[in-house]
Amino acid sequence: MPLNPLQTLVMILAVAAGCALTRFLPFWLFPEKRKVPPVVRYLGGTLPPAMMGFLVVYCLKDMDLVASPHGLPEGIAIGCIVLIHTWKRNVLLSIGGGTAVFMVLTRILE
């Protein structure tokens, strides 16, 4: 545990505050009676798929393509997830299968 208890508590509260703000802001900006402008409605519809694309890249940001194993475990595991998920559409099977493949590959391809 690199931080002391008080520092850890402050970090937890900082994370919580940032998150709570994103949850409450729309309800503060648009109280029950106020109309939501079309551009906000448009972003509300198009941002969810875009955010998922962003989050996938975000998770892979520490991947090193130059050094061995050149991102192969990530690439192959994601390929497996795409196949399993297109085939079965079972969220837990896809996540479990992909993670298992990844964990095996990181041990084989050192």
Binding site: M1, P2, L3, Q7, T8, L9, V10, M11, L13, A14, V15, A16, A17, G18, C19, A20, T22, R23, F24, L25, P26, F30, E32, V36, V39, Y42, L43, G45, T46, L47, P48, P49, A50, M51, M52, G53, F54, L55, V56, V57, Y58, C59, L60, K61, D62, E74, A77, I81, V82, H85, T86, V91, L92, S94, I95, G96, G98, T99, F102, M103
Partner: protein
């Protein structure tokens, strides 16, 4: 049994089956979180505290890295804002559904996570239960699953040393799956590519340390520029 208690029981019975996938998923991801935190020296107490207070799955994983670098709450706050920015759009979608919720409204907003959002915006409350009760039961069950799983993961990891190397890939896998679910709808594909591309290009240009803001900025700009084409 009083009438209001009976109504609450009906809401519970109607809502519980919808939360079963979340129960399974949160058991895996929450326990993995508890185990990962323990691996960095943060025992079940801190892991559970984070889950109970912040309750934001993906950001909690990101925060593990922040908890081992240095004490920097401002960065943690800003990072949390950015990683959780998607909640803004959950909120916008839930505005009409979370109307007239009375005292429960703030609880519902505080606990609005990806999974609760996806259930609450797809499933309509049954006629025999009060909508406020129905939504509250979904939110509270999902919250309980997450917090309990975190505690359990933290506890088990200190009893038996688990092999965790690579287990954090569950998060990448989760987002790949959610991405594929979005991809299934044709009208989402342009936005999905815009998200992938703006993040990938920003990562290449600005590096892993500073790519989040440029990625979000270019994403919103590209979506707004394509508005006439993407409009639905």
């Amino acid at each position: 049994m009083s009438a209001s208690r009976q109504k609450m029981a009906m809401a519970l019975r109607a809502a519980f089956p919808h939360t079963l996938p979340v129960l399974t998923g949160f058991t895996c991801l929450g326990m993995a979180y508890g185990v990962l935190m323990a691996g960095k020296g943060y025992g079940p107490f801190y892991a559970t505290l984070m889950s109970a207070v912040a309750f934001c799955g993906s950001m909690q994983y990101v925060a593990i890295t922040l908890l081992i670098i240095s004490f920097d709450p401002v960065s943690a706050f800003l990072m949390s804002l950015m990683v959780n920015a998607r909640h803004l759009f959950y909120g916008l979608s839930m505005l009409p559904r979370y109307r007239d919720m009375g005292k429960l409204r703030n609880v519902l907003i505080y606990l609005l996570c990806d999974e609760t959002f996806s259930i609450a915006c797809t499933v309509a409350p049954p006629p025999e239960a009060k909508p406020a009760h129905f939504y509250a039961v979904i939110s509270l069950l999902d919250y309980f699953y997450w917090v309990a799983a975190t505690f359990l993961g933290g506890l088990l990891s200190s009893l038996i040393r688990m092999e965790t190397n690579g287990l954090d890939f569950v998060l990448t896998a989760l987002f790949v799956v959610l991405f594929l679910d979005q991809w299934q709808r044709k009208e989402n594909r342009a936005s999905a590519i815009i998200g992938l591309a703006s993040a990938a290009v920003s990562l290449l240009v600005f590096g892993r340390g500073g790519f989040i803001l440029p990625a979000m900025g270019s994403m919103v700009a590209a979506l707004l520029m394509g508005r006439r084409r993407l409009c639905r």
